[in-house]
Amino acid sequence: MTQSDSTASNNRSSQRLYALTWRLPIIVWQLLFFIGPLLFLIAMSFFLVKNYRMHEAFEMVNWQKMFSRAYFKDAYVFTLGMAAGATVLCSLIAFPAAFALSFKVSENTRRWAIFFLIIPFFTSYLVRTFSWYVILSESGVVNSLLQFIGLGPYTMLNTVFGTMVGYLTLTLPLVIVLQTFSMSQIDKSYIEAAYNLGCGRLRTITSVIIPLAKTGLIIGAVFCFILAFGDFVSPYYLGGSKPPTLSILIIDTTKSGQQWPRAAVVAIVMMLTLFTVAFASIAYAYRKQQR
C-alpha cells in the first residue's frame, strides 16, 4: 500500500466516523425509546393477565374481549364524532381569523400575532383547563355575567359544550397559525385578478383563496383531529367523562384495572384510525395541488 492510499483510506474512514457521529444519536435514541415502546405495545396486546400479573403470550383474547364490548364501540364512535366535530368547528372558527391576519393587517402585526398564538402552546394545558372549569361552573364568571343581563344560569360543565371549549383551547391557536402560514403566502395578484374579473368577495374566497391555501387548511385540520382525538383532559374535566373517550378508557384500564394488554388494544385501534385519517387527508391535499 502506498502512502497516499493509506491516507486516503484513513481519510475516508474518518469521514465516515464524522458522518455517523451526527447520524446515529437520533436513530439509536428513537429505536430504544420510541420505536421500541410502540412495537412492545403491539406485542403486549397479545399478552395475558393472570392474578393481576402480565404473562407474555400470543393470544387473541384481549382483541376478542374488547371488540365484543359495547362500551368500547360506543367510546370509539363518540371519540371519532367529537374529534371530527372539533375539527370542523375549529377550522371554521380559525378561518376568518387567519384570513384577517393574512390580508387585513400589516406584516409586523401578523408576526406579533403569531408569536402570541405560539405562547399558549408552551403554557400548561392542565392549568388552562382548570381555569375553564372555574369560569364555566354553575356560579362561575360566565354565569355571573349572564345573570346581570337576566339570563342563566346554564350548565356548561359535564356537557359536550364544555369538552368543545377545552378542545378549542388546545387546538385553535395552532390551527390559526397553520392556516395563516398558508394563506399569507398566496400571491396577492391572484386575488386582484379575481376582483378584476368580476368575482365578488365571497366568490374570491371560495374559488381562489381556499383552493390555493388548501394544503395548509388540511394540515391544520389534521393536527386538530390528532390533538382532539388523543386528548383526555377536556373530555374528563370539562366533559365529565360522560361518556368516556378512548383516551379515558386507556387511563381507566391501565391505572385501575391493571389490564395493560386491553389498554394496548385501545391504543392500537386509536393509532390505526389516526394514521388512516392523516394519510388519507394529506394524500388528498397534495393530489389536488399537483393538478
Binding site: 469521514q15 458522518a19 457521529t21 451526527w22 447520524r23 444519536p25 437520533i26 436513530i27 435514541w29 428513537q30 425509546f33 420510541f34 420505536i35 415502546p37 410502540l38 412492545f40 405495545l41 372558527i93 381569523a97 384570513f99 384577517a100 387585513k104 402570541f116 398564538l117 405562547i119 408552551f122 403554557t123 400548561s124 394545558y125 392542565l126 392549568v127 388552562r128 383547563t129 382548570f130 381555569s131 372549569y133 372555574v134 369560569i135 361552573s137 356560579s139 364568571v141 355571573s144 355575567l145 378549542l168 383551547t169 385553535l172 391557536p173 382525538f229 388523543g230 383526555f232 383516551s247 387511563i251 391501565t254 395493560w260 389498554a263 394496548a264 391504543a267 386509536m270 393509532m271 392523516a278
Partner: protein
C-alpha cells in the same frame, strides 16, 4: 370601498374576540391566584397571597419542583444535542433512506401522548427502568428532540452553503470546522432550542404521569390536585409555571429574531 372597510373592521373585532378566548384561561388563572375566594367568581374577592403561602409551605410541591427542574434541564441538554446532530445530518448529507430517517426523527409529536405514555410505561417496566427520574428524561427527550431539530435546522438553512467548504479549503479539519464555524453560527438556535425544550418538558403531564412513579413532576402534582376538587393552589402553581415557561419562550424568541436581524445587516 366603504363595505370593504366595514368588513375589515368586523374581521379585526373578530380577531380580538379570538385572542380573548385564547388568553382568557391564562389571564383568569393569574387573577384567581391572587384572589381570596375558594370558588372564584364575579365580583372578585380581595387580594390575597394565601394560595402562594400554601404552596411555599408544601414540601411535596418543593420536591416536585426539584424533580421538574432536573428533568427539564437534562431533557433540554439531551434533546438539543440530538436535535443538533439530526439537523446537521439533514443539512449536510444526502443518503439512501433519508426520508425514513427524517420520519423517524419527526414522528413523535404526531402520536397522541396518552398512547406514548402507555407504551413507554410498559416498555420501561419490561426493561426494569420505570418509576425513576431517568425514565421521565428518556421519554421527554423523545418528545422534545423534534422541536430542537426544527429550530436548529431553520438556522442552518440561513447559513451560506459555501462557508463550510471555505473552511475546509483553508485547511481546517471537519471537526475544527464544526467547532469554529458551524457551532458559533447556530449558537442562538442552540440556546433557543435549549429554552424551548426545557419549557415543553416543564409542562408535559401525560407521559410524566404514567412513567414517573413516585417521582412526581409539577404538572403531575397539578393533575392530582385537580382530580380532587377545586383548589386555587392550582392557580398559584400554574402562574409560577407560566412565568417560568414564558421567560424561556421569550428568551428563545428574542434570540431567534435578533440573530436573523444581525444576519441581514452583516
Amino acid at each position: 370601498m366603504r363595505s370593504e372597510r366595514i368588513s375589515g373592521w368586523i374581521l379585526k373585532a373578530y380577531l380580538v374576540v379570538i385572542f380573548l378566548f385564547v388568553f382568557a384561561p391564562i389571564i383568569a388563572s393569574v387573577v384567581f391566584s391572587f384572589n381570596s375566594q375558594r370558588f372564584p367568581t364575579i365580583p372578585l374577592g380581595s387580594f390575597s397571597l394565601e394560595w402562594y403561602e400554601k404552596i411555599f409551605n408544601d414540601a411535596d410541591v418543593w420536591t416536585a419542583a426539584r424533580t421538574s427542574v432536573i428533568v427539564a434541564l437534562c431533557t433540554a441538554v439531551l434533546s438539543t444535542c440530538i436535535g443538533f446532530a439530526t439537523a446537521y445530518t439533514d443539512y449536510r448529507y444526502q443518503f439512501r433512506f433519508k426520508g425514513a430517517f427524517l420520519a423517524l426523527a419527526l414522528l413523535p409529536p404526531t402520536v397522541p401522548l396518552i398512547i406514548l405514555a402507555l407504551a413507554m410505561l410498559a416498555w420501561f417496566s419490561k426493561l426494569g427502568i420505570s418509576g425513576q427520574i431517568s425514565s421521565i428524561i428518556f421519554a421527554h427527550t423523545v418528545l422534545c428532540s423534534p422541536f430542537a431539530m426544527a429550530i436548529i435546522r431553520l438556522r442552518l438553512s440561513q447559513m451560506d452553503e459555501n462557508l463550510e467548504a471555505a473552511a475546509w479549503n483553508l485547511g481546517a479539519s471537519q471537526w475544527a470546522t464544526m467547532r469554529s464555524v458551524i457551532v458559533p453560527f447556530t449558537r442562538p438556535a442552540i440556546i433557543a432550542s435549549f429554552c424551548l425544550t426545557a419549557a415543553v418538558s416543564f409542562d408535559e403531564f401525560a407521559v410524566a404521569w404514567f412513567v414517573s412513579g413516585l417521582n412526581k413532576t409539577i404538572p403531575v402534582v397539578i393533575l392530582e390536585i385537580v382530580q380532587g376538587n377545586i383548589d386555587p393552589q392550582v392557580n398559584a402553581i400554574g402562574t409560577l409555571v407560566f412565568v417560568t415557561s414564558m421567560t424561556l419562550v421569550i428568551i428563545a424568541q428574542v434570540l431567534i429574531m435578533t440573530s436573523q436581524k444581525r444576519d441581514k445587516i452583516s
